[in-house]
């Protein structure tokens, strides 16, 4: 079956060790995680993981099943790229001397909607948020100037469709109102 990029969104309780429990599910099946982020979500005290993997649909279904089976996972979803709005952020650290000497750099920054985060005597830092190829594009342009450091975040994404976590949790509270 054809492999595709899938974005897995996982809503969980905020618990130590859950990350390794989720990561182990991929490890057991010898699947490489392309990117992973974890943060709080729109629901109070609920965490959200965003994991991107390249697998066949048949496989991602099974993986999401295994993830949902974990006790502290509230709900997991998987989506293809066209079902998600997603972004990545990158930071590029470049020598200040290059910046001053070559005005092309300033054009790149303007053209790509990147942003200068910090300027010091020795270096400056550019931030770019966007799609992977846009970040790669700026990377290629800045590389000849000697990138001192480069880092790119994992994908963060929201789905076009609703993810009804709040209603799942409300349902629990109404059906389990003993004690």
């Amino acid at each position: 079956m054809e492999k595709k990029n899938y974005t897995v969104s996982i809503y969980t309780e905020n618990n130590i060790g859950l990350l390794s429990r989720i990561a182990a599910i991929f490890l057991k099946r010898h699947i490489n995680i392309e990117s992973i982020t974890a943060s709080k979500s729109e629901v109070n005290e609920v965490m959200r993981f965003i994991i991107v993997v390249e697998v066949a649909e048949e496989q991602i279904k099974k993986i999401v099943g295994q993830i949902e089976k974990q006790i502290e996972v509230i709900k997991a979803f998987y989506h293809t790229d066209d079902e998600m709005i997603f972004q990545e952020t990158a930071l590029y650290k470049v020598k200040s001397s290059e910046f001053v000497e070559d005005l092309n750099i300033q054009d790149f920054i303007k053209d790509t909607n990147a942003r200068i985060v910090t300027v010091t005597q020795n270096f400056f830092v550019i931030e770019k948020t966007g799609k992977r190829h846009e970040i790669e594009n700026l990377y290629e342009k800045l590389k000849p100037y000697g990138l001192m450091q480069f880092v790119r975040s994992g994908t963060i994404a929201v789905s076009k469709n609703e993810m009804p976590i709040s209603s799942i949790l409300e349902n629990f509270n109404t059906t389990n109102s003993i004690s």
Partner: protein, 576 residues
């Protein structure tokens, strides 16, 4: 505002100030635990000190190795349906639990393991006997948690028991730092009744039940394959009613054994690698395959590309992750099998499928002629394993709990043992853990003291946990132990014979004098070497009020048939 992530029943005890260690014992008592299996050590000593004080309320069984504690807890859980409890210290004590935990996970056995851990101020310092057991056990537990504060103990243990036993059961590990055992807390106990991120019983979709009923009602050649889910869901009676009403031939998986009487006319035997001829062959001929509480393990399906391709598949299952995992279900029926089978029963039309049933009989006759007859009635040469099982059947009349280890003897025990009540077959199915049977039999006998418990073990597996003879000696638990000694790691040897040109690499065993060893533990023992001695020896063992060890010297190079070779289809099953 504090977020409520779990719900608990009303308080059952009034708050009193106790140590964390005492709280652990009180939690066990609240959960109805009367017997636990374990081994003491530094980081769990506060709990053991409380066990000393509570010894009239809780029976702690000192096994001779922590692995034995887990298997004993599993044996207990498998025959009673209650949660088994094992306890160990940190470091090596905890890592020795790993095999049993993995076994319980893959065979869905409810178990709570409690481990001591170094003091919380020492965590991460590579302290003496520190090991990251929570990290280690993560992929093999249904849930695990490290307690670092005494006040967490009641709620965490309540959740542990709830998670271990609810839905698809499984093992839970709770790691408790030594300071949390020493510190005090205000103890009150509330049983856990729900966890918001965990839905143990998926809602039943009656439409799916109707679709399943329609398929079954219009089927010409239906076949039921049922697994341990029927036992775990206490749905044995419903299964029987379903198959009787609709005239459905029913085959069991290895873990489904004893959910239906062996001699029930619709019981067509065991599916899988060394299962019976008829249900394996006819899997590839049936028009509707009704899977109930089973998970299409590779040892059941053989080559998936040629597994029941002609059939519509109905899958009754509690765990959503099992649906379509190995075999695509045309009609998945999620939910507690007790609910779904009940709904199904009402919708089924009475049927007999006489000519289809006749096919199973015809294939059984072939298997009988080619294999069973010879297995049971060899007259010459060394004793065969099946003859021993058959002799046990004659004495037990199907009432005994049969605990088998892993290998050829296990396949023979599962093929030939007779059962007339559920929860009578205890074996390591999914993990195939050699050394399982001896400690599991201890737990099983303690779980059902009024039933006869017979462990069937090979000479290889027996020596993996042979030290548990000490537990039997100390507790005087009257288990019956049968070692079928062929001087080989027989199953591996069989594969070497069939697929590796008889190169018997490291499968021949030079064994000690087993009788002398057992005598050292003052357990009654007998050795059988001749066919003529067997009947009397088995009778003497079964009638013994005490533990009894029977060593039977069997044919060295016996092979287990039928057999589906790895990679072959179920209908390519070999008879010789």
């Amino acid at each position: 505002m504090e977020v409520k992530t779990a719900s608990f029943e009303k308080i059952t005890t009034h708050a009193t100030t106790v140590s964390g260690a005492e709280a652990v014992i009180k939690c066990l008592l609240e959960e109805g635990v009367k017997t636990i299996y374990g081994y003491p050590g530094g980081a769990i000593m506060p709990v053991y000190d409380e066990l000393y004080k509570y010894q009239d309320k809780i029976h702690h069984v000192l096994t001779r190795h922590e692995q034995g504690a887990t298997h004993a807890a599993q044996g207990f859980a498998r025959v009673t349906g209650k949660v088994g409890v094992a306890i160990a210290t940190s470091g090596p004590g905890a890592t020795n639990l790993v095999t049993g935990i993995a076994d319980a996970q893959i065979d869905s056995t409810p178990m709570v393991c409690i481990t001591g851990q170094v003091g919380s101020h020492l965590l991460g310092s590579d302290a003496f006997q520190e090991t990251d057991i929570v990290g280690i056990s993560t992929p093999i537990t249904k849930w695990n948690y490290q307690v670092t504060k005494a006040s967490e103990i009641p709620e965490v243990l309540a959740k542990a028991f709830y998670i271990a036993r609810s839905g698809r059961p499984g093992p839970v590990l709770i790691d408790i730092t030594k300071d949390a055992q020493f510190d005090s807390l205000e103890f009150s106990y509330k049983k856990c009744s729900g966890i918001r991120s965990y839905n143990p019983f998926p809602e039943v979709n009656l439409l799916q039940v109707e679709r399943a009923a329609d398929l079954i009602n219009s089927a010409k050649k239906p076949l039921v394959v049922f697994g341990q889910g029927v036992i775990l869901g206490n749905a044995e009676e419903l299964l029987k009613q379903v198959i009787e009403k609709a005239g459905l031939p029913a085959a069991w998986t290895i873990l489904g054994l004893s959910a239906l009487d062996t001699d029930h006319p619709l019981n067509v035997g065991m599916v899988g690698m060394h299962g019976n001829y008829a249900p394996n062959m006819l899997t590839n001929e049936c028009d509707v395959l009704i899977a109930i509480g089973m998970r299409f393990d590779d040892r059941v399906t053989g080559n998936l590309k040629h597994y029941a391709k002609q059939a519509k598949v109905i899958h009754f299952e509690i765990d959503p992750a099992e649906i379509d995992k190995n075999v695509k279900a045309d009609v998945p029926v999620l939910g507690d099998v007790k609910e779904t089978l009940k709904a199904l029963l009402e919708l089924l039309k009475p049927n007999a499928h006489a000519s289809w049933q006749q096919k199973f009989k015809e294939l059984y006759d072939i298997e009988f002629e080619k294999i069973i007859k010879n297995d049971l009635n060899a007259e010459k040469g060394m004793l065969g394993m099946a003859e021993v099982i058959d002799e046990i059947n004659h004495c037990s009349k199907g009432d005994a709990v049969i605990v088998s280890d892993v290998g050829q003897h296990q396949m023979i025990a599962c093929r030939y043992s007779k059962f007339n009540q559920s929860r009578s077959n205890v074996t390591s199915g999914g993990l195939g853990t050699m050394g399982f049977a001896l400690p599991a039999a201890i737990g099983a006998k303690m779980g059902v003291p009024n039933r006869e418990v017979v462990a069937i073990i090979g000479d290889g597996g027996y020596q993996m946990t042979i030290q548990e003879l000490g537990t039997i000696f100390q507790t005087k638990v009257p288990v019956k132990i049968v070692v079928l000694n062929n001087g080989f790691l027989g199953m591996v040897r069989q594969w070497q014979q069939m697929f590796f040109d008889k190169r018997y690499a490291s499968t021949e065993m030079v064994n000690p004098d087993f009788i002398a060893i057992v005598k050292g533990y003052h357990i009654k023992a007998k050795q059988v070497t001749e066919r003529s001695q067997l009947e009397h020896a088995v009778k003497e063992m079964m009638e013994s009020k005490e533990a009894y060890f029977l060593e039977v010297k069997v044919e060295q190079e016996e092979n287990v048939f039928p057999m589906i070779p790895t990679g072959a289809s179920v209908s390519e099953i070999l008879l010789e």
